[in-house]
Assembly symmetry: C2
Homo-oligomer: 406 residues x 2
């Protein structure tokens, strides 16, 4: 017997038939003797419609009213799933964020969960064998109003609820079968991972069609919640996201991630003096522009070239910000390149094994792919390359690290 | 300066454009210096979709979960209207039933309002000039869950809120221009009434396409809330529903109502003994069948014929119930007739004027219409006639009582 939180995403509850399918999965867990709480998203498409209505009423809508409107999506699903469960003979009731309550801070539209009062839910799961069907994505703010956690927040709701209920596992049902070694749309031989460490999952966030929201993984890591990502459309086991200590046979590289969402900026001939990096990146941070890879090359003449990446969507704002500080800093010119892509190899095994980076560089060199920027972290090596090489690079690295399915 | 509750029905908030239109009407009242609270229905069609989903999950769905699901319709509208008001510069916020709270009993799906805590709303209307946008149709039950009042309950929400806020008026915006002397689809010369008494409105409930929910009129009468029915699509003044003391020039007849929804049952040769009526109507009441017109004719042989009407939808159940008690009662036979219609003339003026009934009988006789059953109340005379005469009867009576528009 275990205590399980099951989370169903929008595509898993997209219509009454799929809600019945979700109910059947919950019934199976209950009949196996488990205590079950369920977290639901809005029916696929519902949230988009609600957001569109808010936009139509006013482009600059009040975040509190936005929350009131969009939170209804999950409320509908919670009631329907409770009905579907009762219909197949399972005790169930729906819980809105404000009823439990799931307390959040007051940042409407992007609130963070502060606390979940789980005692009553545990009592009902244990004593009444009653399934709690909880609305994801929302809670109750200090102003006694409904708050939402931001898009994809239902994963975070599920992990937070699993922590509050001291659940043995948090199963995230979605439309993919788990976490893959890389994007199966690019690499046909991509393999589903049985287990992956929290930190690897965080680094691989971009792999496999946004499998898990980053915040939910951070929370799972902090609260030591065992998360399973699995498909609601098959019966195959999914991928367990766990502490790295649980992974006995650590692969050198767990997976290959890539991103086409960044652009490269180079600032040429910046005076090479103390505080120059702060003078450049301070204003960018002030403009809420997220700078990723940063490389600095010192030239012989007392100037330096500074290269870094920003999200493509922020490129015009970044250029404008840098133009505004040109006189204060005194650089020669700025160049920007949108035709770049980032490839990363990720694995906790890197901590104890050398040679991961050199394998990457050699593999790319053999394919004639030029590396523009390199950055590394403890469990990741990332390189920036020309955008046209992205599929070639991902496939070559997938083979080079022995990740291809047999 | 007045304090006004404005209620917008489903067709008045059917889409973003109509919600903007409703916002413009609210803005006008606020800018005229009034304190305004708004009660909203779900966008037209939304509730039907939500009800259909519940049905699809289970025909015998839990009323508590049904309430959770369908209450989202008004929640969406409340948020969108608040956004629309803010967009045109009016301070506004949405209020869910559980936030105010609007306390109801625990009869999920058909709850009754027990109390509304209006102090905070009044403070905000008065001190902050903030419009309260309140979800109609719902409240918070003793089980700390969302309750709904049953279809059409938003009118009742509006009147109850007007009472709680001591509002000067409750304006019900709908898709008709007010209360008419009779159904304009039958009588082209039907006139819109400027004023009508609560009791007349109750009796005329069937006139004018379900203008007001009966419960809301009962509550308005009890709490002395002045109600105005008016169109959200024109700027014409509507009909004021008020205490009869406010109506100086009382018409003999305020309007003509009709119904095609009843069927006639006759029980022949019932033993004419004390308690026989209770023996018949007790079981019908027990089966939740609403009996309307009742007539008893005593025959010479110690038996009596009993005639009454029931809703057509309940006729099969009524016949089955009566068949079940045939031996206990000992009647000869039952006949049922679905081809009947009821016509009523209504007016508080009848209290002080004789001759209303005889004018009705004479008018119908002149048109060759046979009267099958007659029943009267203090302010109403109803007759049952053959269904095919209904339009003829309504038109003739409308003319006979001088109600035709010039």
């Amino acid at each position: 017997m275990a205590r399980i939180v099951m989370k169903f995403g929008g595509t898993s509850v997209a219509d009454p038939e799929r809600i019945r399918n979700a109910a059947a999965r919950v019934k199976r867990e209950v009949e196996a003797g488990n205590e079950v709480a369920v977290v639901v998203s809005a029916m696929a498409g519902a949230t988009n419609q609600l957001v569109a209505w808010c936009q139509e009423m006013s482009p600059l809508h009040d975040a509190r009213e936005y929350d009131t409107v969009v939170a209804t999506g999950e409320q509908v699903t919670s009631g329907l799933l409770a009905i579907a469960l009762q219909h197949v003979g399972i005790e169930a009731r729906s819980w809105q964020g404000w009823q439990i309550p799931i307390r959040t801070d007051g940042a409407h539209g992007k609130a963070r969960i502060d606390a979940i009062e789980g005692a009553e839910l545990i009592r009902r799961m244990r004593d009444l064998r009653q399934v709690a069907v909880v609305t994801g994505f929302q809670g109750l703010g200090p102003d006694h109003r409904v708050t939402t956690l931001g898009r994809g927040g239902s994963d975070t709701s599920a992990v937070a609820l699993a922590a509050a209920l001291a659940a043995d596992r948090c199963d995230i049902y979605t439309d993919v079968e788990g976490v893959f070694t890389t994007d199966p749309r690019i690499v046909a031989k991509a393999r589903k991972l049985d287990k992956i460490a929290y930190e690897e999952m965080l680094e691989l966030a971009s792999v496999g069609a946004k499998v898990l929201q980053t915040r939910s993984v951070e929370l799972a890591m902090k609260e030591k919640v065992r998360v399973q990502v699995l498909s609601s459309f098959t019966d195959a086991p999914g991928t367990l996201v766990v502490d790295e200590d649980e992974i006995v046979e650590k692969a050198l590289v767990a997976g290959i991630a890539y991103s086409r969402d960044e652009a490269k900026i180079t600032i040429r001939r910046v005076p090479d003096r103390p505080g120059i990096a702060a003078a450049i990146f301070g204003p960018l941070a002030g403009a809420a522009i997220n700078v990723d890879m940063i490389v600095q090359n010192v030239a012989a003449d007392g100037t330096t070239d500074m290269t870094f990446t920003v999200p493509k969507a922020d490129l015009p704002r970044a250029e404008a910000t840098l133009a505004g500080i040109k006189d204060a800093i005194g650089y020669a010119e700025i160049t920007a390149d949108r035709d770049v892509a980032k490839v990363s190899v990720v694995g906790v095994g890197m901590r104890s094994h050398a040679g991961v980076a050199s394998t990457m560089f050699r593999t790319l060199a053999e394919k004639g792919i030029n590396i523009q920027v390199i950055s590394t972290s403890e469990i990741k090596v990332s390189v920036l390359i020309g955008a046209e090489y992205i599929e070639l690079a991902v496939r070559a690295l997938h083979t080079a690290y022995g990740l291809d399915a047999a």
